[in-house]
Amino acid sequence: MLQTTELNAFYGQFHVLHDVSIHVREQEVAAILGPNGHGKSTLLKSICGLVDQVQGAISYKGRDITGRPAEKLVNDGVIYIAENRELFPEMSVLENLKLGAYSKNARPFEKKNLAKVLELFPRLEERKKQLASTLSGGEARMLAIARGLMSNADFMCIDEPSLGLQPNLRVEVFNIIKEINKQGKSILLVEQNIPQIAELADRIYMLEEGRITFEGTAQEAGENEHLKEIFLGM
C-alpha cells in the first residue's frame, strides 16, 4: 500500500534520513522503533508531505507521491497524527473534529465519520462543546486521533500515540488503534514502547541515526539481541 525507496530527508543542512526503504501492506500495522531524535517523526512527516526537502521515492497505492504536499495527500487518504497533537486550542472539540474533515474527499462522509468517531471515543462525545485547550493530555491525544479519522484516510501515520500517557490510558489508546485497524485502516506508527507494540504491530522497523537497522515481525524483534540491548538494556 505504501512504500518508500531510498528516502532521504533534510532539514536545511541536516541530513536526517539516509536511504530509508520501508513498506506497509494493506490493512497492516507497521511500527517504527528507535531512540529519540533519530528521525522517526521525520520519516512519518516526509511520507505525509510535511517535510519540504525529500529525495528518493514514496509511492502510495502504486502511485508516486514524492513531494506531494500535505493538503493534497490528505485528500488522497494519507493523514499524519502528530505526537504533539497540533489541535486548535480555541475551538471546541466538535469544531476540531469538523476541521478534520476539511478535505474535499472527506466532506461527504463528515456526518457518518463523526458518528463513528464519537462512538469510538465516548469521552469526546461528553466534551463535545469544550474548548480543545481545556482537555487533559489523554483526551487531547484521543482528539488528535479522532480528528485524523475524520479525514476518512485509508492510511494513518500515528506519531508516538502513547507519549506522556499513564499506563492505563496507553492501553486504551492501543486498543483503539487496534480497533481502527480492524475497521480496515492501514497504520504506520512510531513508538518507543516495545512490549505493547509487539502485540499490536505486524511488522517492526528499527530506525537508528536515520537508517533502518532492523526489519522483521514482532516475534523476530523480540528475539533480536540488538533490539533487546537498546530497549531493555540487556
Binding site: 505525509c48 500535505a70 493538503e71 502528530a82 486548535f88 480555541e90 475551538m91 476541521l99 476539511y102 479525514s151
Partner: protein, 291 residues
C-alpha cells in the same frame, strides 16, 4: 450640559463602529498570516474613490445601494489579486514579514500617487447616504450617522458569522490558531491567506465608502486611517479580533471627546498617549497574547 455630550457621544459611537470594521480587518490579516499591510490606508481611499467614480463620475442609478453592490466585489477581487501577486511570492523568503511591509508601503505610495494623477489632489466630496435628521427635541441625530452605525455593525456581525459558521471561516481560525495543525488536516494555507487579505480589503474599503461623505476623499487621506487602525490593533492586542473591537469603540469615543474639548489637532496625540500608557503597563495590548 449632558445634552451637549450626546452629540459627541454619537459621533464617537459612529466613528468607533467604522474604525472597528477596519481595524478588525487589519488585525485579521496580521493574526492569520503575520503580514502587516502598510497599504491598508490606500485601500480605504480606494473604497472612497470607487464610490466617488460611481456616484459623481458615472452618476449611477440606485445611489449607495448600487455602490455597495459594485464596489464590494471589486474590492474583494483587488485584495485577492494583490495578495497573490505581491505578498504570496515573498512568503517563502527569509525575513518575509519585513519584505511584506516594504512592498505594501511601496504599493501605498504608488496607489496614492495614482489617485493624484487620476483624480487630482483636491478633495472630493460625496453626497450623504441619506438626508435628514432625527429630531428628538434637545438631541438631533442625523440619519446618516444612524445608517453608518447600522451598516458597519452589520458588517462586523456578518464577518463574525462568516468566521464562525462557514468552512472558509473555520479554516481562517484554524490557520490563525495553529498553522501546523491546519497543514496537517489539509487546509490550503495559501488560499486562506489570500481570502483573509481579500476580506480585509472589503472591510477597509467599505469603511472608505461609509466615511467618504463625512470626511471627503483625498489622495493621501488613507494615512490617517492606517495610523488609527494600527493604533487600535496595537491597543486591542495584535491579532486579537475581540480586543480590536473594544479598542475601536474606546478610541472612537476618545477621539470624539478630545476633539470636542481640545480640538481635532489633539486627537492623534491623545490616541498615541493612551496607546503608550497602555503598552507600558500591558505590552500585549488589551487582549493580545504574549509571543
Amino acid at each position: 450640559m449632558l445634552i451637549e455630550y450626546a452629540d459627541v457621544f454619537i459621533s464617537g459611537l459612529t466613528n468607533g463602529s467604522v474604525y472597528a470594521l477596519m481595524a478588525v480587518g487589519l488585525t485579521l490579516v496580521y493574526g492569520v498570516s503575520k503580514a502587516f499591510n502598510f497599504a491598508y490606508g490606500s485601500f480605504y481611499s480606494l473604497g472612497g474613490y470607487l464610490a466617488w467614480v460611481l456616484l459623481a463620475g458615472i452618476g449611477i442609478w440606485g445611489g449607495y445601494i448600487s455602490v455597495f453592490i459594485i464596489a464590494l466585489p471589486l474590492l474583494m477581487a483587488f485584495g485577492y489579486v494583490t495578495e497573490k501577486l505581491i505578498v504570496a511570492p515573498l512568503r517563502s523568503r527569509s525575513d518575509w514579514e519585513i519584505k511584506v511591509m516594504m512592498i505594501t508601503l511601496g504599493l501605498a505610495l504608488f496607489m496614492d500617487n495614482f489617485y493624484q494623477v487620476a483624480f487630482g489632489s483636491r478633495m472630493k466630496s460625496l453626497p450623504p447616504i441619506v438626508d435628514g435628521v432625527w429630531d428628538l427635541g434637545d438631541i438631533v441625530i442625523s440619519y446618516q450617522d444612524i445608517v453608518i452605525l447600522v451598516l458597519s455593525v452589520s458588517g462586523i456581525l456578518a464577518f463574525r458569522w462568516i468566521l464562525n459558521n462557514t468552512r472558509i471561516g473555520m479554516a481562517v481560525r484554524a490557520v490563525a490558531q495553529n498553522p501546523e495543525g491546519a497543514r496537517i488536516v489539509g487546509i490550503p494555507k495559501d488560499r486562506v491567506f489570500a481570502a483573509t487579505f481579500a476580506i480585509s480589503t472589503v472591510m477597509v474599503g467599505a469603511g472608505g465608502v461609509l466615511l467618504a461623505q463625512k470626511y471627503f476623499v483625498s489622495p493621501t487621506g488613507g494615512w490617517d486611517i492606517l495610523v488609527k487602525s494600527w493604533v487600535i490593533t496595537a491597543f486591542g492586542g495584535m491579532g486579537s479580533i475581540q480586543g480590536g473591537l473594544y479598542a475601536a469603540f474606546i478610541l472612537g469615543m476618545l477621539e470624539a471627546f478630545v476633539g470636542y474639548w481640545f480640538g481635532m489637532t489633539w486627537v492623534l496625540f491623545a490616541l498615541f498617549a493612551v496607546l503608550l500608557a497602555t503598552l507600558a503597563v500591558r505590552p500585549q495590548g488589551l487582549m493580545g497574547k504574549w509571543g
